[in-house]
Subunit: 600 residues, 2 copies
């Protein structure tokens, strides 16, 4: 059998046993028509499409990235078969309501289904994922006219969409966006400027592409408070009312040659080179950053899912390799004996278990975060909605960056397990290593996630967000102790929470004294600390569920035994690192703070 991309049993476990989607969401009116049967159907479709269509096209698309021909981007021909099937599965609007053409699936279900597709071919999924996000912006903030003109066609997959934020001179600093929008008397603005790294910003898959563009109105305030959001289509309807599409003066100035995600073009766009680029304001003036950030959790969760998916494909590949590749012998075995599969070597098993812990721990976190994203919107209980929203806000920086950072290490282990073969393009693991690196960069670098977590999220609502987190972990601890999932593991988790608490007390005191720079200095360490503990929580939760299942003689026993082993691995091997990060946060160690430019 080929690489399954994700372990089906694990996905079912997370969905139906860990986050228990039927119990948690089934009672909500919005999901009343749904249930496991509907979800399983969607998952089955995603699995089939990922394994039969997407994965077999991955390496060809990696080998032949999009080309710029006569000023237009030509994508890999296989995408012509793939794209309509992704649309047919409903991926552009899976979580959206029927009123806009969606299936109203819980995000938890949609995200886990998408994970298969991402693991199979993340670039192909990029086209529809970006379209979904762009359309969702219009759904949330656009006028009826804009929704009708753009959103409907995007959710239907007829047109695609992008997010056009980054500019060459600004990068992560959205306050420095300089793309300009000049009002006209015709209800649209004239757009001029340049954007870079626009994924899917040009291609030949659909008739039109709607670039959701951050730009600055003439006379707008400086900084992020002067940035507005515009829908800027590559082609617009002709003024003659014929319904014909005419060029909207959005020029592809070049392609960026990414080292991964090579099936999805990264485009440099110029707006208004001929002075004829029209954009339509979405929502109100100067609210562009706020609108973008209201969609940001979702976008970042999907980046995290890409990271987990990529790590999962690599993990299962190296597991399959380790089970079949024979080399060497156990310690003390006779030289004349047969070579053994390398999974028998302890250090190879260590690397595989680390991969499993990262992949399945990360996937559990994504599932948990998605569940709360659903509750934050659809729960009938005001308090639960607010509680879940705070939790989603808090978990998102981890859900985004943990898969990127630890997933990169995990994918490097997949190469290592393959030995010299892993270092060649004859085997797929090196490509997943390349793909993974992007996830620490796009949609906010890891550094930005760390500032978001420590500077904003952890203290949100006067500390209530963090309190909710502690409640959740506390509930898991109680459940794990009852289930007998390992008293030593529970003790270790309890200790880690103590370390986390005292670290935050120290940092909060620093902030209250006005030393915000000092509070944020070790934000990278705080993110690492919080990530390790969050994943430990997710492993303890899985261990609790597994221990309960074993008590009830659930099968397959091996599956649950593996969960207990991986939980033990994470909590005994990775969790202790949290203390090192905590100590640095607390001491406010200043080596790099004091380091001067001229000393390097």
């Amino acid at each position: 059998m080929g690489n399954p991309l994700l372990n089906d049993r694990n996905v079912d476990f997370l969905l139906y046993e860990v986050i228990d989607v039927d119990r948690r969401l089934g009672k909500l009116p919005v999901f009343a028509d749904h249930g496991r049967q509907v979800y399983d159907l969607f998952l089955a479709g995603a699995r089939r499409l990922a394994r039969d269509v997407l994965a077999p096209s991955y390496r060809a698309m990696d080998a032949e990235p999009p080309r710029l021909v006569d000023g237009h981007v030509k994508v890999h021909p296989r995408l012509r078969e793939i794209y309509p099937q992704l649309v047919a599965l409903g991926l552009t609007s899976a979580t959206r309501p029927p009123g806009v053409g969606g299936q109203q699936l819980p995000m938890a279900v949609s995200a886990l289904g998408s994970a298969y597709l991402m693991a199979g071919n993340l670039s192909a999924v990029g086209y529809v994922g970006l379209t979904a996000s762009a359309a969702h912006l219009l759904e949330a903030f656009g006028s009826d006219a804009l929704r009708e003109r753009f959103m409907t066609r995007m959710y239907a997959g007829e047109w695609t969409g992008t997010m056009a934020l980054t500019e060459p001179q600004a990068g992560s600093s959205l306050a420095d966006v300089t793309t300009r929008a000049t009002p006209t008397r015709h209800g649209y603005h004239m757009i001029t400027g340049s954007k870079i790294f626009i994924s899917g910003g040009d291609h030949d898959l659909t008739d039109n592409i709607v670039q959701m563009t951050l730009a600055r109105l003439d006379g707008a305030p400086e900084g992020i408070k002067g940035v507005s959001l515009f829908a800027v289509p590559a082609r617009r309807f002709a003024d003659d009312g014929s319904g014909a599409l005419v060029d909207n003066d959005v020029t592809t100035a070049g392609l960026v040659h990414k080292i991964g995600w090579r099936g999805l073009p990264s485009v440099i766009l110029n707006y208004g080179e001929r002075g004829d680029c029209r954009g339509w304001l979405v929502g109100q003036e100067h609210q562009g950053i706020r609108y973008m950030f209201q969609m940001m959790n979702e976008a970042r969760i999907m980046v995290g899912m890409n990271g987990v998916a990529t790590a999962s494909a690599a993990y299962l590949e190296s597991l399959g390799y380790a089970r079949t590749r024979t080399q060497g012998r156990p310690l003390g075995a006779r030289a004349s004996g047969p070579q053994v599969p390398i999974v028998e070597h302890p250090d190879v098993r260590r690397m595989l278990l680390r991969q499993k812990a990262i992949v399945e721990g990360g996937l559990a976190l994504l599932a948990t975060t998605a569940l709360h994203a659903d509750l934050a919107v659809y729960s009938l209980d005001d308090a639960e909605r607010s509680r879940s929203q705070l939790l989603v806000d808090l978990l998102t920086p981890v859900a985004k960056s943990f898969p990127a950072e630890w997933g990169f290490e995990s994918n490097a282990l997949a190469v290592q397990i393959h030995g010299g073969y892993g270092y060649t393009s004859e085997y797929p693991v090196e490509a997943w290593l390349r793909d993974q690196k992007l996830n620490s960069l796009h949609e906010g670098t890891t550094g930005i996630q760390s500032l978001d977590l420590l500077g904003r999220k952890i203290g949100a609502d006067g500390g209530r967000a963090f309190g909710i987190f502690l409640d959740e972990v506390g509930a898991t601890l109680g459940r794990a102790r009852s289930a007998g999932a390992g008293g030593d593991l529970c003790d270790a988790m309890q200790d880690a929470l103590g370390v986390l608490n005292s670290t935050l007390e120290t940092l909060a005191a620093r902030g209250l004294e006005g030393d915000v720079a000092g509070m944020l200095l070790h934000s990278a360490d705080f993110l690492a600390l919080f990530s390790i503990i969050t994943i430990a929580w997710q492993w303890l939760l899985q261990a609790a569920v597994a221990a309960e299942a074993i008590m009830h003689d659930a099968i397959p026993r091996d599956f649950y035994a593996g969960k207990l082993a991986a939980a033990r691995y994470w909590i005994t091997t990775e969790l202790p690192r949290a203390s090192v990060h905590a100590a640095l946060c607390k001491s406010g160690e200043r080596s790099f703070a004091d380091m001067r430019n001229e000393w390097f």
Copy 2:
């Protein structure tokens, strides 16, 4: 100014202030004719060649790897200009005696000079580095006839050489080599078999290539004790005595497409497809592995140097980028103020300082190891030779694997600092990330280094090797305290040594009780622990020298201040991680030991 590849001031610092090569080696008769003037001349040549010739060719060679044309490998045309210049610099025989055509440079000097060349274009250096190693094998173990026929031409660069160890079915398990050697009455053997991953195993740069090949004599014992070493040239002298070269039936069966080091072909070789491949036994029968391993320290040190060099190029590139790329503003600055160079952002400085600590810490370790490699051979004092040899043996697994593992993290940081640009092939940092990954695989994987360290080296000579290490670190501690290089850093180092000692006591006791598997279970953690402490030692040493220099008002002051800052970074930020690894070694934590294949 372009990327300097290595910091000249730092190389001079290491050579003349830290390892103090003049004082330590200058008194030895073998180096009597030498001194700083000679060394500086060699370094200047290496710097010039690296910056003016090698580095400018790197990206072209990365973009167009060697091709297989009509069964023969064609390399990049630029190599025709580069290769003779590397030979002219003397790189094939820099450390060898004048009697065989060498310059008798200390390895410490030769290795640091080579580092520039590796940083500039590691593939190009590969051809001469492999030739030097292959010729050295012949010098050490070959008969006069073999030395005359092969070695002389190889040291002269007329022919190149390779190391042909790995076979498809065996990989790291050299005990399972199956290439056969059948004796003839003519003084040579007939060779049949297949080798894989042979770097430089075919090319069109020179008339001939001598593959130093591990093979098994007919009737040889099983395992590593039945493996012999042969010189197998691609072409041999015709039997008619004309001196003409004729084909020796070594066929290039294919190319492996590596993801880095793309200027150096990795070849699959078949010997004796027509039954006409002759090989010449080097030294005695069945001693092949022993011979190879006598050269292994040198080969592994050079892998480590490649790792440091690659990390250095990436570090200096990201430093240059961070100093010129403006983006964002300091915390609390007004939105209307100018954007600042990203080196001003603390988290970027953290990443740069981490790179500096890894690169310069690794380079210091390589210099120290090379110094002791020189003393181990050339000291007039028996005790010093034996002492230095034990130290080289002990340090080699770290010198090989630290740059590979931490250097990979360091090179990922270089990409991260470049943001989205770092993820493109328009910038060079991604290529160095790819290049670096090989160093954890070739010449013994990191897993193999960890077993070598804990299973063999740390207890060598009844623990004397480790005692010598402790003496060296103790001397450094004394010097650092006298120099006032940071009492808290010295205390931390002293504590870390205590942790190391107690860890080893526990592990040794486990081994003495016969539980060798238990002793070796956490060899990866032990390697990490020992590596972190070893680099901390190297940083404390550099800090001591820097503090002394500052006391004497040496210039440039900024350089020494940077050394103190980086030492502080490593010891306060990275050294604490050692305790986590130590705890796992001591407890013998069993999650992956107990993990079963069917649980994954």
